[in-house]
Assembly symmetry: C2
Homo-oligomer: 134 residues x 2
DNA sequence: AAAACCTTAGCACGAGCGTGTCAAGGTTGA
DNA sequence: TCAACCTTGACACGCTCGTGCTAAGGTTTT
């Protein structure tokens, strides 16, 4: 067998064997298997396990968060959908592409009339409110 | 007052007033407030609330996931840390830009040192561990 | 001033996360 | 062969997420 067994890997990385399996279930770090099905952790996996630990600790995030980040970069549809949602964000136009910014400016008047001045660039059609409390 | 109150906004967007407050707590969509502190939802917010609903439903993700995505794009340190982690992914170098892969190999040693520095007190060079089950 | 809103703060509760531990059974190596 | 490891599966438990509901108290509108 070539590589560390789960218990050995646990010792060098600081994770528990249980968590190593959990991390694998989460889709992050999946070690190779021996013929008999034993998990075999190589240097690369060990390294990744350590940095993963550091990542979680340093930013106080969860495995599921990293899992989501992974999904974000594996699923283009999700990625673009999320990007799109944030693109319409009500934040300062600093990081908004020129084209969007232009549209934002164009719609400004409309938005001001409706209400929220400095908030959000998004085609606000289909916005026929119930009874604008005016 | 200019804008929809929380209940009106709830009706047009399909969220409950409770959830609208929750979404606000999550840091996504924060409506303006009236002088008395009433939440005022404008067209932009309403639109964003609707698309958010669609986003969650379509990809079966949670508010916290979107919250994390937001954190990812607001916190550059987190962003690069996560990027870095995935960049070192044990995937076939197929989908890794040649340049990055090369640099990764070059930095390997340095990364190992760094990681070991602020991590598990256990010793570490992965290539000469406890007892390679060979 | 009373009805109908709004605010924050809290309890409750099922579902999922992060983790340990135990059980039943296969693998490895001395 | 036998101890020591591995595998999957499951129960358990505390914590957070998503959600509703109630309470105590301001605001708006009629």
């Amino acid at each position: 067998m070539d590589g560390l067994t789960i218990q050995q890997a646990a010792q060098t990385t600081g994770w528990s064997p249980r968590m190593l399996r959990y991390v694998e279930d989460a889709g992050l770090i999946e070690p190779l298997r021996s013929a008999a099905g034993y998990r075999l952790y190589g240097p690369a996996e060990l390294q990744r396990l350590r940095t993963l630990r550091a990542l979680l600790a340093e930013f106080d995030i969860g495995l599921t968060d990293v899992g989501f980040a992974q999904r974000l970069r594996r699923d283009p549809a999700l990625r673009t959908a999320v990007d799109h949602w944030f693109a319409a964000a009500p934040r300062r136009p600093e990081n908004v592409p020129a084209a969007d910014w232009l549209r934002w400016e164009q719609d400004k008047h409309q938005r001001l009339l409706n209400a929220n001045a400095h908030l959000a660039p998004l085609d606000a059609h289909s916005t026929k409110p119930i009874k604008e409390t005016a």
